[in-house]
Symmetry: C2
């Protein structure tokens, strides 16, 4: 269970590029992830990816049907990494907590990738396996199907939204590049207290999302709400 799926057919003929690099699905995805983290979503283009691989841009198309295909592969790689070697403990709350933190950390490690892939449902092996696992924990805990799905949705939403808004909290490369555009941090900090008293009062708290504790808190709120639901069903 929760076995990581890696693309196959990577073991036949390998011919090195002009720069001597040997291409594989895995290498391309890794390189793309690195480019995303280092240069942002706009920094990942077929040309630059080819360059980073020491190959021609079009070489990527031997392995992926297009950039879209590559992005789905990146998303699935994230899930595969997050769920690698996971094992249930028998305590559904602990399990869900662990799963949530794993997904959260995977997204945190690649915020740009999170933004890029979050709005996509890949239907790929690792993502589907992750869904299957989460649903299994909930149904195994005794939740009726409808409740299990509802909590599953809330659970996924939580991770997803945190990932996206965390990425937005970071100084986006685009905003930073343009220079004249306000970054979130500054935007909220500079609002006058007369017109926006509530934002002004909480500004430091507002911009401090980017840590585990905020996510942990939200996750715990969800879990205790779910536990209450389960007690209600059991009673």
């Amino acid at each position: 269970m929760a076995k990581r799926v890696v693309p196959e057919a990577d073991r036949r003929r390998r011919r090195p590029t002009k720069q001597g690099q040997v291409l594989t699905h895995g290498l391309i995805v890794e390189t793309a992830l690195r480019m995303l983290r280092e240069h942002g979503a706009d920094g990942l283009t077929a040309r630059r990816l080819g360059l980073a691989l020491g190959a021609d841009a079009s070489a990527v198309y031997r392995y992926f049907r297009g950039m879209d295909d590559l992005i789905l592969a990146i998303a699935d790689e994230l899930f595969g990494h997050a769920m690698a070697d996971w094992r249930p403990t028998g305590d559904w709350r602990a399990d869900l907590r662990d799963l949530g933190l794993r997904i959260h950390h995977a997204y945190l490690a690649h915020p740009q990738a999170a933004v890029l892939t979050a709005s996509r449902v890949t239907g790929r092996p690792n993502e589907v396996a992750s869904d299957e696992t989460i649903l299994g924990v909930l149904r195994g805990a005794g939740f009726p199907d409808a409740d299990a799905v509802r909590i599953y949705h809330a659970f996924i939403d939580q991770s997803l939204a945190f990932a996206i808004l965390d990425a937005a909290t970071l100084a986006l490369p685009k905003a930073a590049r343009e220079g004249d555009e306000e970054v979130w941090r500054d935007t909220y900090a500079r609002l006058p207290a007369e017109t926006h008293p509530n934002i002004a009062a909480t500004a430091p708290l507002l911009v401090a999302r980017m840590n585990d504790s905020a996510y942990r808190t939200a996750l715990d709120m969800l879990l205790s709400s779910a536990a209450a639901q389960l007690r209600a069903v059991g009673a």
Copy 2:
């Protein structure tokens, strides 16, 4: 309070395009929103926007610094629409519920726009006003600042994630165009019960997100959790 902000400086000289159209900030944003809804995120390009306006692509640049600027304007328009004429009732739970549904509906009306704008924090008037309003309701209800911000985050996350995943649930134009790509609906429905028993058992529930009741349920979970928190603080 919650007054809708529309871009200014739309009242000086207006010269019609060749097709007789008169351009304004508002008209361009409306047209862009329509294109998003009708042709998806990839359907909105400067050239096509210009065409739809009966003008040249470059005409847009007289009103917006670039496509990025336009997208932020679209996002803020959504918030402006959602919060128009909102008034607090004095019951914080009812108020939050109403605000959540308003934002939810605004996103639902333009799923593609939601995906496009969700990962951006605009810092524009309508969005900031919305944040100010939500924080005001929470702080007015008696939540300490740290709790108010935490709940505010969870609240925003909920709307955001629902919007994004709802949009993903829809047959994305890109996937539909390629034809060979599985859409979410089919992906989950077709998984064999042997390998994915939990998904197979809940598949019909899994794909049925696209309605108010799912969001309402999640929202209520959040609100009752918040209420419990408030009681704990008050005691």
